[in-house]
C-alpha cells in the first residue's frame, strides 16, 4: 500500500501526474482525459498535474516535488527511456508507487515502477508496415516510399520508424525509401517538407507516404493538393494517431490507413491507480485499447472520436 499521506484512504487518493507537455493535440487530449477522469472519480481526492514542457529535468523535478508532498501514487509519462533510476528509487524509498503512462522506460529499471499503461509505438509502426506489405504486395516495379518522421530523436519517431521497416524487411517487400525527413510532428513543417519533396522528387511514381502522426500527414495532404495531385489516389497515405481531423480526411478520401494511438485512457488509468494504491496485483504492462482503420471503416468510426 501507498504512503498514508495526509489524504488518508477514506478521503481518497492524492495522485501526482508528471505529464510530458502539451506539444500536440494528442497530448492535450491525453492530459484532459486524465484530469477529467480524476475529477470525476470519487476514489481520487486530488490530481497534482505538472506539465514538463518536454524536458526530463522538469519531470524529475516534479517527481521530487510529489515526494516532498507525500502523494499516494505517482504517474509518470516519461519523455525519454533512460535516466530514471535515481528518482524512481527515491520514490520507492519514500514508499510511493509509480505508474508509467504512455511511453516506457529502459528494461533495467523495470523493478522501479509498478505497471505501465500505454501504447506500443513499435507495434503501431508494425501495423502500418503490415498494411503496406498487403497493399503493395504485387507492385511490380517496387514500392516507392516517402516518410515524414516525428521529432528527431523522440521515442515515437524512432519506434514508429523501426516497427514499420522491420515488417517491410521481414516480409521482403520490394521497396525503395525515396526520402525521409523530420516534420517535427507539426502540420507546418509536415507541409513544408512535403512541398520540398514534391519539387525535388516529383510525385509521379511515388506510391506511399508514411506520416508518423496526424498533423504532419494533414499538412502533407494540403501540399499534395496544392501541387495539383489527389492525395489518397495519386499517392497512398498512412497516418498514425487518428484524431477527428484525421478521420475526417479519411472520410473525404484523402488518406488510406489510420493506425490509432489512443490518448483517452484516463478512466483506465484511474482504475490502475486505485488498484496499485490498494496493493492489488497488476500486470506489468496494460495496453491501451487501440485499433487500425482502413478506408471502409473511417465513416463509422468518425463519430466515436474524442479528440
Amino acid at each position: 500500500g501507498g504512503g498514508d499521506g495526509e489524504g488518508g484512504a477514506d478521503e481518497g487518493l492524492v495522485v501526482g501526474f508528471a505529464q510530458v507537455g502539451a506539444e500536440s493535440a494528442w497530448r492535450t487530449a491525453n492530459s484532459t482525459s486524465v484530469q477529467d477522469a480524476a475529477a470525476a472519480d470519487d476514489r481520487i481526492a486530488e490530481l497534482k498535474f505538472v506539465d514538463a514542457q518536454q524536458e526530463q529535468e522538469r519531470q524529475i523535478s516534479a517527481i521530487r516535488d510529489f515526494i516532498t508532498q507525500q502523494v499516494d501514487v505517482i504517474v509518470l509519462a516519461p519523455v525519454v527511456e533512460t535516466g530514471w533510476t535515481d528518482v524512481l528509487q527515491e520514490a520507492e524509498d519514500a514508499g510511493i508507487p509509480v505508474i508509467l503512462a504512455d511511453r516506457g522506460i529502459e528494461a533495467a529499471d523495470e523493478d522501479l515502477y509498478t505497471t505501465r499503461l500505454g501504447s506500443d509505438f513499435v507495434a503501431e509502426g508494425r501495423s502500418a508496415g503490415e498494411w503496406a506489405v498487403q497493399t503493395f504486395a504485387d507492385d511490380a516495379d517496387g514500392t516507392k516510399i516517402l516518410e515524414l518522421q516525428g521529432t528527431t530523436g523522440s521515442a515515437p519517431a524512432n519506434d514508429r520508424n523501426a516497427g514499420f521497416f522491420e515488417v517491410l524487411d521481414a516480409e521482403g517487400l520490394n521497396y525503395e525509401l525515396v526520402d525521409s525527413q523530420s516534420g517535427n510532428f507539426t502540420a507546418e513543417e509536415g507541409k513544408a517538407v512535403m512541398e520540398t519533396f514534391i519539387t525535388t522528387h516529383a510525385l509521379d511514381g511515388i506510391d506511399l507516404l508514411y506520416a508518423h502522426n496526424d498533423e504532419m500527414g494533414l499538412g502533407a495532404i494540403q501540399a499534395i493538393e496544392e501541387a495539383g495531385f489527389k492525395p489518397g489516389e495519386d499517392i497512398q497515405i498512412i497516418i498514425v494517431d487518428g484524431s477527428k481531423a484525421g478521420f475526417q480526411a479519411g472520410v473525404d478520401g484523402k488518406l488510406n490507413y489510420i493506425v490509432e494511438c489512443n490518448p483517452v485512457f484516463g478512466e483506465q488509468l484511474m482504475d490502475v491507480v486505485v488498484q496499485v494504491a490498494n496493493g492489488d496485483d497488476v500486470e506489468k504492462f496494460t495496453p491501451v485499447e487501440e485499433g487500425v482503420f482502413d478506408a471502409t471503416q473511417f465513416e463509422a468510426e468518425l463519430p466515436n472520436r474524442q479528440f
Binding site: L47, V50, E55, Q56, R64, T68, E81, T82, G153
Partner: protein
Amino acid sequence: MSTHQLTERPSRSMLFDGLARYIPIGATVALLLALYGGGVANYPKFDSPQVIAKLFIDNAPLLVIAVGMTFVILSGGIDLSVGSVMAFATMACAWLTVDAGISAPLAVALVLAFGTAWGLLIGAVIHYFDVQPFIATLVGLFLFRGLTLQISDTDVSMRDVEFFQWGMVHAVDVGEIRDGGFWLPNLSFVAFAVVIVAFTVLHYTRFGRGVYAVGGSESSALLMGLPVARTKIGVYAVSGFCAALAGVLAAFATKSANPLANVGAELDAIAAVVIGGTLLTGGAGFVLGTVAGVMVWGMLNTLIAFQGNLSSWWARIAMGVLLLAFILLQRVLARSGEKRRT
C-alpha cells in the same frame, strides 16, 4: 604638495554610493523570501527543508551554466550556445564511456577541455573578427545540437558506468523527508564550489575586475591598457567550461544522455542571470545575484507543482504572471534608489 580642498564635498553619503548597486540583488532576495513565505502560507509541506534543498538538486546544472553566463553578460556579451554545448557534453560523456570505452574520469576531463576550447575559439572569433556574440554563439547553438543528434538520435544510458554513480550519492542526509528531513547529493556541492570559485574570481582577481571593466566600456578598457582580448576570450572559455561541466552534472544526475535535452536552457540561464539583477548591457551584477535568480526560477516552478491543478496553459500563464509581478516589484524597489529624471 598642497592638499587644500579644491573641490566640494560629495553630497551623497558614502553609505548610499556603496549600497546603490546592491539594490537589484537586494530586491531579488527580498522577493525570493516573499515567494517562499507565500508558498509556506498556502501549501502544506512547503515548509519542508527539502523544498529548499531541491532547488539545488535539480537546478545544479542550471546554476552552473548561469554562473558561466554571468561572466559573459558582465563582459557585455551573451552566450546562446550553452544549452546545446551542455547536451553535447552529456552525450559525449555517454559516447566516450559507453561506446568508445574510455575510462570515465578521462572522458569527463576530455569533455571539460573540449568545452573550454570551444569557448576559447568562439571568444577569439568574437574578439578578433568582431562577430556579434549573439550570432557567433547562435552558431554554437545549432552546431552542437546537430552534432549531438549525429552521435545518437536516441537517449543513451550510462547506468553501468560506475563513475557516474558518484553524483547522486547523498552528501548530506538529515532524516526522512516526511519527518522534515532533507538531503543533498554530491553534485549540488560541485555547483556550490563553482559558485564560490566564480565569486572569488570575479571579485578578487584582476581577470574578474577586468570583466567588469570591459563590460563597462570596452573601448575605455582598451585605452586604459587592460588586456581586453584575454578578458573577452576568457569569459567565453569560462562559459564553455561551465556548460560542459553542467553537461557532466546532468550525466551524474540522470546517468543518461538525451539528444533533445536542454533545449532553451540558455534562455533559462539568461533569465536567471537577469532576474538576479545583472544588466544585459554589461558591467553591473553579481554571481550571488545569479544564485538568487536560479532559486527564484526554481521556486516559481515549485509553486506551480505544489498548486498542481493548473492545466498546461494555465501553468504557463501563471509562470508568466509570477515573473511579471516579480520583475515589476523589482523595478519599483530598484527605482526608488535611482536618480529620477524627467
